[in-house]
């Protein structure tokens, strides 16, 4: 379905009566089925969010909202800032912040049966994967916003959040799931059983469902290429650019590298001028002027940092050109 056609067929409100609304409702249900099959949930466990990061609040606070039972929130120092905000916002809440090892792994084995655990499948900055999910815990919120369909939910998940951009879908769409087994209560004021006040853009939902279908089909053929590209980048940087600090390998579509004595702001700007869009975790490139808490937690260099996302369409030729530009630019900035 082409984008203009999606907008044509998705304007009616799927909750109303009438033929157009009914067919819009069918599209919504089909989309839920599609996401459920790729994400490993039931279709009636899925809710769409127009603000993906609202899902951190819904997913975690909805599990804590149980006055009869005193609970602790357990999370890690490489979690997203949204998780820190939730831990800070509730003064009565007992919180435990676990520290990641230098390899990025977090040990959840000390969790208690009554704990609510925020568990990150894959780190958005480094790609580092948590291989051992918490086995204990009354409830587990799974942050799948960086892994998308690449990593499976742990069996004991309670709530989970994905971001449509991880399968090259439109931005501004979160997929939020509440397990039927979970003891979850909406932390938002509500009169009925709706999880999200909504309405969420149906065109975005349908476009994202089409994107996830084609992304998953492509991933089968392209995963090996992406892993090889990641390896090439690491190899090149280690061999050709001195004083570089690479984050440990995780999911291969993500890579984080820092260069000593280099301003990330200048590096990112120069790379952008050469046609390469890269992100950075350095303080000078952040809105709050703070260095990346993830890099600092792992003891990695925060200055001169670049974060790369390798896309399905990225080619070995793209990377060769990029790496040559990177080397020259780092040398040039260090020479100043």
């Amino acid at each position: 379905m082409a984008l203009p056609h999606i907008f044509e067929v998705t304007w009616p409100d799927p909750t109303k009566l009438g033929v157009d609304s009914k067919s819009a409702g069918l599209l919504l249900n089909e989309a839920k089925e599609t996401f459920a099959s790729h994400l490993g949930t039931r279709s009636d466990e899925i809710t769409f969010l127009g603000e993906p990061n609202l899902g951190f609040h819904l997913g975690i606070n909805g599990l804590l909202d149980d006055a009869s039972n005193f609970k602790r929130l357990v999370y890690s120092n490489v979690d997203r800032m949204e998780v820190f905000a939730i831990a800070q916002a509730n003064q009565q809440l007992k919180t435990i912040e676990l520290s990641a090892e230098p390899n990025g792994r977090v040990d959840y084995s000390l969790c208690l049966e009554s704990d609510v655990v925020a568990y990150q499948l894959c780190n958005r900055e480094t790609g580092i994967v948590q291989a051992t999910p918490p086995t204990k815990g009354s409830a587990i919120f799974v942050d799948a916003t960086a892994s998308g369909t690449r990593l499976k939910l742990p069996d004991n998940w309670s709530t989970a959040l994905w971001d449509s951009t991880t399968w090259a879908g439109p931005s501004g769409l979160g997929i939020f799931a509440v397990s039927k087994r979970a003891n979850w209560k909406s932390p938002l004021p509500h009169l009925d059983g709706r999880i999200n006040p909504g309405p969420t853009s149906l065109p975005l939902i349908v476009a994202s469902a089409l994107a996830i279908d084609s992304w998953v089909a492509d991933q089968k053929n392209l995963a090996a290429k992406i892993a090889a590209i990641n390896q090439d980048i690491r190899q090149y940087i280690s061999t050709n650019i001195p004083d570089a600090d690479l984050a440990p390998l995780g999911e291969p579509h993500l890579l984080s590298a820092s260069f000593l004595y280099v301003s990330a702001e200048q590096l990112v700007t120069k790379l952008a001028d050469a046609g390469y869009a890269v992100d950075s975790g350095s303080a000078c490139s952040a809105a709050n002027m703070q260095p990346s808490h993830v890099l600092a937690a792992l003891g990695l260099l925060t200055q001169g940092n670049i974060r790369l996302t390798i896309h399905h369409s990225t080619t070995f030729e793209d990377i060769k050109g990029f790496l040559d530009t990177l080397k020259v630019t780092v040398e040039e900035l260090r020479g100043k």
């Binding site: 600090d245 000593l260 004595y261 303080a283 000078c284 002027m289 260095p291 003891g299 990695l300 200055q303």
Partner: protein, 70 residues
């Protein structure tokens, strides 16, 4: 001990100036670095691991560095 005042200077400037000050100095040379940039503490620790020099946090925004490698 020599003091390198980088207060008010943003990352990566303090570490660049520190490396310059150490470049011509002999092994064992010590210097105090003053820096209030939020990236200095994590980056000094990473710099120490990468370059083999030693750092000590004296107090907030004050670090003592010993050159141990060229």
């Amino acid at each position: 001990m020599q003091t390198l005042d980088c207060l008010g200077k943003r990352c990566p400037q303090p570490i660049i100036e520190l490396a310059k000050a150490l470049k011509v100095a002999p092994i064992g040379f010590q210097i105090t670095l003053l820096s209030d940039d939020p990236a200095t503490e994590p980056d000094l620790s990473a710099w120490s691991r990468m370059t083999g020099n030693s750092i000590k946090v004296v107090e907030l925004n004050k670090y003592e560095i010993t050159k141990l490698a060229d």
